[in-house]
Amino acid sequence: MHEFSLAESLLKVALEEAEKHGASRILRIRVRAGKLMGVVPELLDFAVKSLSEGTIAEGAVLELEEVEFKGHCRNCGAHFSVEDFWEVCPRCGSDEIDISGGNEFDLIGLEIEEGEIEDGNKGCKEDP
């Protein structure tokens, strides 16, 4: 259950990016994760929900895109995506496959609301 550690880093980066753009709320967080990160989507989702309470990311939807491994067949040289470690080459059926990648863990997008953070004083400002 290392998802809490990952969620902590994820929120830190997401809040930094949101701040750069003057966000008042984060509505959606888009993340890309490689299979070597061992992320269980439900657990990451739960961790983000828990840790974002009281921040502008509270209630944000986490969109997790899982990145497949890259496969290369040592027998026929084909390149393809690999979902699972035990696949065989889709072209020649060989199981002699080099698997690479899987270390990705990136923030790839945010959907934000801009503007002043509502603090209950709306409308109290004097018109210029």
């Binding site: 259950m1 290392h2 550690s5 990952l6 880093s9 994820l10 830190k12 980066v13 990016e17 949101a18 753009h21 993340v31 299979k35 070597l36 990160m37 061992g38 470690f85 035990w86 199981d95 002699e96 496959i97 698997i99 899987g102 863990f105 990136d106 923030l107 790839i108 997008g109 945010l110 959907e111 934000i112 609301e113 801009e114």
Partner: protein
């Protein structure tokens, strides 16, 4: 409004890992990160290889545990410097914790650093500590299906230890079932069958560690 961005989420952690790597490299220290289940025999294995190596190399150990200093106490009996990290519940070591532990070690007088990760076959593989080499420690009582069920540890490791081979007569352990996923994922993976109880296979493993120290290899 949509913001497009590509940022490595673990960038801060990656930076610290790289800093650790630099610190170790500058002092010519070779580092090994031992990953395996609780009870696989990581501490016993480290004690065994310290006994063999300490005549020739200056060794230090970083011990990762959820709580307690038991393992550090076991290591301390070998008279090498040891720093205990208690993660207080976290299931893996990270570069920050290792960086802090490095500050407590006499780095100017160390040739080899052994890092014993928290007992866990999954989470530690996702975190770069700045080490040179990850070693997966598996054991006979855990079962012959572990490489197949935990391929990530095989993928992440440069060497695999199968510990407790003195227990083979007492367990249904099919070596073919153990080796075949390893061969498929990493055909050149060195696998060391050892017993910390009888000492069998330890010398071969120690020779491999020495070969890794002598041969600077790209990660």
């Amino acid at each position: 409004m949509e913001i497009k961005v590509v940022r490595k989420i673990l960038e801060a952690s990656i930076r610290v890992a790289e800093a650790n790597r630099r610190i170790l490299k500058e002092r010519d220290i070779r580092s090994f990160n031992f990953i395996g289940s609780p009870g696989a025999g990581k501490t016993s294995l480290i004690v065994k290889i310290i006994e063999k190596l300490k005549k020739y190399y200056r060794i230090a150990v970083i011990e990762g545990d959820l709580a307690t200093v038991r393992d550090a106490e076991v290591i301390a009996k070998t008279n090498v410097p040891v720093v205990q990290i208690n993660t207080e519940g976290a299931c893996h070591l990270d570069a920050n914790l290792v960086g802090k532990a490095l500050e407590e070690l006499p780095l100017e007088s160390i040739d080899i650093l052994f890092i014993e990760n928290v007992g866990n076959l999954v989470c530690p593989t996702a975190f770069d500590l700045g080490e040179d080499i990850k070693i997966g420690v598996l054991s006979v009582p855990e079962g012959d299906d572990k490489p197949e069920k935990y391929p990530v540890i095989v993928k992440a490791s440069k060497g695999i230890v199968l510990n407790k081979i003195d227990m083979l007569p007492y367990f249904k352990f099919d070596k073919e079932r153990f080796y075949s996923p390893i061969r498929k994922l990493a055909p050149d993976m060195p696998v060391f069958e050892v017993s910390c109880e009888t000492g069998e296979g330890i010398d071969e493993f120690v020779d491999w560690i020495i070969s890794k120290i002598r041969k600077e290899e790209a990660r």
